[in-house]
Each structure stands twice: as C-alpha cells, then as structure tokens.
Amino acid sequence: MGKKVGMEVSIAAAEAAALCDVDVVAAYPITPQTHIVEHLSELVANGHLDAEFVPVESEHSAMSVCCGSAAAGARTITSTAAQGLALMAEIVFIASAMRLPMVMLVANRALSAPLSIWNDHSDAMMVRDCGWIQVFCENGQDVYDHVFHGFRVGEDPRVLLPVMINLDGFILTHVIEPMEFWTKEMAKSYLPPFKPVYRLHPDKVVSMGAFGMPEIYAEQKMAHDVALRNSRPVIDEAWDELARLTGRRYSAVEHYKTDGAETLILAMGSLCETASLAVDQMRDGGKKVGLVKLRLWRPFPFAEIRQALAGAKDVVVLDRSVSTGGGSAPVTSEIRAVMYHEPSRPKIHCMIAGLGGRDVTPDDVSNMVDMALAGTGAEYYIYGVRG
C-alpha cells in the first residue's frame, strides 16, 4: 500500500481524470463543483493532460459536447451540480439511452428554490431514472478511486453506459483528506484504452440517435434496462481488480457493525461516516444498532439489500431529499418496495435530514433512530425543522 498524502478531494478527482488520460473535458462552473473543472483546465493548460478542454456556455451544452465526443470515441468527463444538472437533464437521459460512456462527477447540491449552494441529494434524485450507473461516495479516497472505476466499467464493451459519481458538495468537494494516489502504471494496467464498438468516423459509417416509432420504442427501453442491469458483474469485477491493485475493497452494499443488530440505519454518501460514529456511540450505550451503506444506487443491488435488511426489526433510512407530496423520500420508497415481498420484513422508517446543507451530527443520527423507533406517526419525517 502506498503512502497517504493530504489533498482536496476536488483536486484529487481531477488528478484521477488526468491519470485516466481523458481526451475531452466539457464543463460549466457551478459551486461546489468548480474546483474540479478549474483543476482540469489547469492540467490541460500546463500540458500535464493532453485533452481538449471545451469551455461551454451552459451545462446543456456541456452534456451535449460530451455526447458528441463520446460518440466520436473519445474518453470524456464532465462535472456539475444542482441547477447545472437540472439544465442538462434532458441530455443526461439521452446520453445513457444512446449508450455513450463518460464519467460525470456530481458535486451534490440542493435544488433551488430557495437558491442554496449547499449539500443534499435532491439533484441526484431528480435524475434517478436517467439510466446511468450511479454511485455515491463516502469519502475522498472513494471518489478518487471511482474515477478509474467509472471509466473502466462504462467503457467496457459489455456495458457502454455513462457513469455518475456522486460526491457530497463541500462535505467532500472542499475538504482535504489523506489519500493514497495511483501511479501512471497502475492507471494503465487498470484502465485499457477506450475502444468504442461504434464511433463517428467516415471509415465506418454509422447512424446514431434514430427516433423510435411505437413499435420499437418499448424494445429500446427494455434493451437499455437490460444493459444497465447486466453491468453489475462488470462493476463487481472492476471492484475486485481495484482491490487487488490498491488493497481497498468496495462493494454495492457495505456493512458496519451489523452483526446482531436489531435496528439498521441505511445511508448513502458522506453521511455514512457520520452514521458510523453514531453507531459506535449507540453500541457503546448497549443498543443493537448497525449501519448499511448503499454505494451503488443504479443498478440497484436488490439481492444484497434484501439480505442486509432481512434480519432487522427496524430500518431507519436517512434520506437527503424530499419527494414533495409523495409517499416517502426517494431512497426509502425504493427500500420499502424492495422489501415488500419478503416473508419477514422490518419496519422501514423514513427520516429526511441534511437538506440544503443543514449539518447532521452523530447525535442527530442517534436522535433520529430514537424518534423513528418511538414512532413519528408519519410516512416520512423531516428532521430538525424549526416550527
């Protein structure tokens, strides 16, 4: 294992992209994503990264440029957050349906209004059904490693899908963390050059993006769904290889002190680290509480989630966005649906916290668990709201 060096997570993510030898970067600035693209443009300007940096005039064009460049067979990266993701959303759905591999770092930020530059997951949940591979990262190392993982999986001819790497705005993007860095050789051995099955080039004529009549549209949607589900073994394989190379093991669903737990907390992203501290406290206090971390959001890891939650009496899902006027928040809805047909199923509580940058401490997590177990009397509960 290598030596740990402190670096801002955004800078590290850009450095990872450079080690991946990306060909095209197209992005538009938005807080808290800015440091990522600033550093990428710096790397290009300094000649450390031989890529085209396309300083687009909007996020809509950022994603459109990425589609064009991925279709040309170039290794492509972009990054955005919140309003930027909303503006590009139209093309986000098209990129995956057209099977164009690329990596997008989403520095998760709350959607307006009110305008907020701070962190939650409302942006990612808005595009939940966009057909991309979607992972949520817990810490800086996780983000850094997943840039390599993302390209390797997305460009794999068995997959050919774009990959969205979610990292919490500010909480991850702007902190300096100790990390182990890859060498050029490691990157080379892990990530083969992108060899697209089809590319836009006169040497082999193709048409991309034909429209679908009613007699073919459903088949195309099904094909996309099958492709996303079938990416799972490739995702796992790439994690295995990453573990061999770095000693760090990632999986779709991870456990923390779940042995013998009667109550499970389920969280995504950087909140997992906070929740693990809360679990330590609660365990010390004699409570049988554990943590399930959901890293792979799409394709959804059904089997692991069912297995992870099967033995618990209660599951407290910590959601980071609101499905306004809906049944519950997005992650809880999913977990409830997945567990519905299980012969013995836990009670699934929905706790919404950390909206628009509201701090969530380990004490808050313990509190939410207590409140959930005591019963809130509602389908979902927005924690910590002053009334």
């Binding site: 085209e52 193709v206 429209f211």
Partner: protein, 324 residues
C-alpha cells in the same frame, strides 16, 4: 439499382458529384427543398465528414429506427444542441487524432438544424460554438417555421406569414407581425471566418459556399433558404421557382462574409417586385396592399444596407477573431 439507372440518365454537371450521401426513400414531402439543400451540402463535402443534426424535419424523415437514409456518419441527440454535439465531435476527433488513436485524416464536422433549432432554441449553443472557434460548419436549413411540429412560427418566419401560431386574424391581420431574425449577420458578428446565405435554387453557388466553408480555419455558418411546399402552401413543383424568386426579389439576398469582407453572390440588375414572390404562397394570401408595401420597403432598405456593407468592407478585410 435505382442509383445505377439514375447515373446513366443524368448528364454530369460540373462539380456536382454523382455520389449520394442521403439515400432516396426518405420520408420528406414532395418538392421539399430542405432535403434538397441537405443533399447538395453533403455532395459538396463528400464522404469524409460527420454530421450532427438537430431534431426537426430532416431528422424525422431520415431516421425511423432501424432505418437510416444517411450514407455519412450521422448523429442526432436533441433539438437545441446540434452545434454543441458537433463541437463535441470536433473536439473528440481532434484529441484522438493528435494522440494517434484514429487515422490521421481530415474529417469535416457539420452541424445542421432548422430555423427553429438555430435561431430560437439552439441560438445559445450556436453562439458558444462560434465563440470557441471550433473548426466546423453549421448549416441552418431555413424553411421559415417549425415545420416538423406543424408549421408554428419561429423568429425566422418572415413578417406577414400566417402560421399555426401566428395566424392572420381580425386582431392581427398580418399573421407574423415581427421581422425575420437576421441570423447570417448575427453569425458574422461573431467574427467567424466565413458566413454566407444560400439557396438550393442556386445549387452551384450553394455548393461553392459549402466548399469554402469547409476550407476556412475555424467556424463557418451557412444559412440556406429552403422552400417547404407543405408549410408555405405552394405546389410541390414550384419550390425551385420560389427559392429563385426569394433571391431575385431581394427578399433573401445571396451573399457571403469571408473574413469580414461582405460580397454579394448574385446581383440582379433590377430586383423583382416582392409581389412576384408573395403571389401564390398560401401563407401570404391574406396580405393587403399596405402590408405588401411595408414588406417591399423593408426589402429595399435591407438590400441597400447590404450593398453599403459590401462597399464598406470590400477593400479592407476586418480582423477575424476566431481564426487561429
């Protein structure tokens, strides 16, 4: 096979390649001059190109999955982003070529959109593409309305045209009551190396301009008036005639702006009266004399302004910002 037959019948025309890059059998209406413009553009460039196309008639008539009419690499992503998708293709191919991952050969990247996809919803993406200086051609095929969705007005619809969202009525007798957006001048104002107007009725001029656009270093813009018999409510066999009348009446002058120098491509001795152009077009049938006079006045004023621009820039080319 049909192609072989055609080859035998057609007498070769100078600089008019016989190869077809958009196959017949597409679903355009009879007499569609927009698809004719596309055909000419592709012929002028030849096979070493990539075409990024906006949603609109040309995309819909050519690509019902799993069929395609395209004999060149072609991509459609959405309505408003052909310029950005083309930018991405250009950037991608450039990086790959520099890094030795694709053959070292020149590929002309073309983005294409209708007047709606260009002058309205795709305006920002187009301006970005110009400003960034991508080496590519943007072609606007202008049939003066959103035809694909059923003849709604665009900012490129001329004053006086009745469309489904600018219908002539008692309260607004002119139909469209705004003047056509001058996209070519707006393109030229970006200081790109080349911007020009063209019309398939004058196909050799059109093809010459396409070749010039492919040759310059940096972005080029072509604004091609494309008669749409369906939306203009004219008989299909008259599209070529109406295209020529638009040019010869000064309604749609043919000119180019080459490195800041404005040049007329066709200078009729006397402009034909606009009535000759307007006559017989269903979209203009409601116009009264007053409105026609207004149009005539505007055409003359624009024409004179154009002559002055040509004169003023003729012998001292302006600096082109985007060429590098």
């Amino acid at each position: 096979m049909a192609e072989e037959k055609k080859k035998r019948i057609l007498k070769p025309i100078k600089d008019f390649p016989l190869d077809e890059y958009i196959a017949s059998g597409h679903r355009a209406c009879q007499g569609c001059a927009e698809v004719l413009a596309v055909r000419h553009v592709l012929k002028a460039i030849g096979p070493d190109m990539v075409l990024a196309m906006a949603t609109g008639c040309m995309e819909i008539i050519s690509s019902p999955y799993p069929f395609t009419s395209w004999n060149v690499p072609w991509i459609h992503v959405a309505f408003e982003n052909a310029a950005a998708v083309g930018s991405g293709v250009e950037a991608g191919l450039k990086a790959l070529r520099r890094k030795g991952r694709i053959p070292d050969k020149n590929v002309t990247v073309v983005a294409m959109g209708g007047d709606g996809g260009t002058s309205d919803i795709g305006f920002q993406a187009l301006s970005g593409m110009f400003e960034r200086g991508h080496k590519m051609i943007y072609v606007c095929v202008d049939n003066e309305a959103y035809m694909n969705t059923g003849v709604q007005r665009s900012s490129s619809t001329p004053f006086g045209a009745s469309t489904t969202t600018s219908p002539a009525g008692k309260a607004r007798p002119s139909g469209q009551n705004t003047w056509k957006k001058d996209m070519t001048a707006i393109a030229a104002a970006h200081n790109i190396p080349y911007a020009a107007t063209a019309c398939p009725s004058y196909y050799s001029d059109l093809m010459r301009k396409v070749r010039r656009a492919a040759e310059v270093e940096g972005p080029a813009y072509l604004h091609v008036l494309s008669v749409c018999p369906t939306g203009w409510r004219v008989p299909p066999q008259t599209s070529i005639k109406y295209g020529a009348l638009a040019v010869d009446s000064g309604v749609f002058p043919l000119y180019e702006v080459d490195h800041g120098v404005w040049k007329l491509s066709r200078k009729p001795k006397n402009l034909k009266p606009v009535t000759e152009y307007l006559k017989g077009q269903g979209r203009f049938r409601h116009l009264d004399e007053g409105m026609i006079a207004l149009i005539q006045e505007r055409v003359i004023a624009n024409w004179e302004r154009l002559l002055k621009l040509c004169e003023a820039t003729g012998d001292k080319p302006a600096q082109s910002g985007s060429e590098s």
